[in-house]
Amino acid sequence: MIEFFLNGERQCVDVPPDTSVLALLRETLGHCGTKEGCASGDCGACTVAIAEPDAPPPAMWRTANACITPAHQLQGCHLVTVEGLARGEALHPAQAAMVEYHASQCGFCTPGIVMSLFALHESRRQVSTIPLAPQALEAALGGNLCRCTGYRPIRDAAHAMAAQPDSRPTWADDPELETAWRALGRASHATHYHTPQHLAELARLRCEHPQAPLVAGATDLWLGATQRLEQWPEVIDLRQVAELRRIAAEETGWWIGAAVTYQEWEPLLRTHYPAFAHLLERLGSAQIRHRATVGGNIANASPIGDTPPVLLALEARLRLAGPEGERELPLSAFFLDYRKTALRPGECIVAIWLPRPENGSQLRVWKLSKRREDDISTLLGAFHWRQTGERLQDVRVAFGGMAATPLRVPTVEAALEGKPATAEAFADAKRALRAALTPLDDVRGSADYRLTAAANLLERWALTLRPEPRRYPGGGARCVRSLNVCRPITLALRRARRCPPPRPRCG
């Protein structure tokens, strides 16, 4: 039994634990405005907006891909779909702007785009006079694909939203409604969908249901249901386990709960590790980042998971808990082989130790993928170092997409440790790289491409260490140190001449 609010109306439904929000909407409740485009969390046609009781306004509405969100996670929440935006005949500003700018052709992506724009509009209601920055627009729409329009009219509609008549949905600004849905409570009433509140309860449930999958964001795991047709008669949800939700600051770093979402990591990273925060902008989409967790990214142990190489370069640690108690492990000891981890039976990741950056330490992270947003990496390189005078110290080099697991490459590190950042040292490093790694050919890249590209990332790193700006053939100096800061906006948006390319920041 799930109790939640949908477009301002109370719902009480009973569905199996492996039902998605999309299936609940379309098949159980007959709300077909939300579309299925891929059932994989890629295209965004199924985007809905969810308000959870612990999320503070104004960014209360968080988009999600309904196709891979467990329906039971709606317990105690307010779900809004495209059917819930208009007030009678009066369209919500997101809808009105889309109409005015002809931002819909076949219409199939439109409900999902409208929901992303709805969430963006709501989050900006207090700041609507400030023009929408390209980065904010990309962040809001990066997880919505459109085959027909080429995105420009959608971009124009997004910029025009704030100027539309402010029509509020029928259910909005109703204090009684706010109280009503927040009073429902988050803990599951369903017999087969479990929401343990503490580690002890989690341990007991795992003993009772050893086959039950553990879900948090479920953004990769749920594809087991939608693509591989797996069935889960019991599901254990980690999102309310208190020990997995804490961020505890200590003198030398932070213990960050495994069920803390990417969105919740972001403020901390922006302050202390901006290169890591920049990576998150390219990880998945807003819909994914609102729900997916770093703990899940690690436990999933995919060779192309995006956070493990960065965390390896930062020498992160894990706290694990299981039937035999708690233990700590360096992340470097966690990945044993392709999708094989050091987790013992009954163990789970409780928290991740993120060290505070040391004085003078630096981090660069570069992700290579075909799409700028919403794409799985072909490979990813993370580089950590400190510069003392001319020499590189504490060199740590990690890659994803180059082996069966994410990994550091000790021979590359040794080639650079204690050396000045010369062409010779980096040539040694590149040779060491090619000798150490034998990546696969797959649909995202050949082995040769991966080796070449990884060596080129070392070269890119070397270029950022050069003190003087380089002149490129064809004229024009360009400050190469800006390579991690210069953010060209998505090519499709950039072609609209109204948006000039951003100026690289130098110095």
Binding site: K35, A39, C106, G107, F108, L145, C146, L229
Partner: protein, 248 residues
């Protein structure tokens, strides 16, 4: 849901659908032998069987279709099929296939010039242009909904760029008059040419299942199957001769 071939080219030896029919929720299973009318739905030339019979010609070619009480039940039931295909060696290179005389359609020649002497008198240039595979797709995959109507009639809602062709094919497959088939495209969800001829197979299957079961049938392909089962623009190799004469 539709059972698709995993083999690019081969001979279908055995298609055992008993376990499919016995799967939970299954109402009906059809293959080539269950088609009352035309088995070939080639829109311009023949050679496009609704379900493979003995020759398997591409990965993703439909072998059978199953109707069940839920989408998930139908998808699961498909996996119970026992399919034996003797693989043959597929040829993927158009130039090599042309050299071996393996043409999709008989070669045709058109020329504005009159006779070979005309070519010999003037400068001529042989040119080649090639294009590789193009896969274009829409956010909405292929979908069809069908319901039996009065007597032999049938209604088909189909995401479709060529409803009248689908009307013809559904009528021919079901062996009923054209006027007994009503086809409506309610919402395309994107076409890009991929639903001009390739909307028809799913409309035919849904209509046949609806006719047989007496119930409304919804057939839609999940994203992965939609991409696999429907056509791409194949690589093209074009060799053309250009001549320049002295007429104005």
């Amino acid at each position: 849901m539709v059972g698709l071939s995993d083999v690019a080219q081969g001979t279908l030896l055995r298609l055992d659908l008993d376990a499919v029919a016995r799967s939970p929720g299954v109402v009906d299973v059809i293959s080539a032998g269950d088609i009352p009318g035309h088995r070939d739905i080639g829109p311009v030339f023949p050679g496009d069987p609704l379900f493979a019979e003995t020759a398997v010609s591409y990965v993703g070619q439909p072998l059978f279709a199953v109707a069940a009480t839920s989408y998930a039940a139908a998808r699961r039931a498909v996996r119970a099929a026992v399919v034996e295909i003797t693989p043959l060696t597929p040829r993927f290179d158009a130039v090599a296939a042309a050299a071996a005389g393996e043409f999709v359609a008989p070669p045709t020649a058109r020329s504005a010039a009159t006779g070979s002497r005309h070519w010999r008198r003037h400068p001529t240039y042989w040119k080649r242009v090639s294009s590789s595979v193009v896969r274009s797709t829409s956010i909405s995959g292929r979908r069809a909904w069908s319901s039996p109507a009065k007597t032999r009639a049938v209604i088909v809602y189909t995401s479709n760029q060529h409803p009248s062709e689908t009307q013809k094919l559904v009528a021919e497959v079901l062996d009923i008059p054209f006027h007994a088939v009503t086809v409506e495209n309610r919402r395309m969800g994107g076409g890009f040419g991929g639903k001009e001829t390739q909307a028809a197979p799913w409309a035919c299957m849904a209509a046949l299942l609806a006719r047989r079961s007496g119930r409304a049938v919804r057939l839609r392909l999940p994203r992965a199957e939609d991409t696999r089962a429907t056509g791409k623009r194949h690589p093209f190799h074009n060799r053309y001769r250009l001549g320049i004469d002295d007429t104005a």
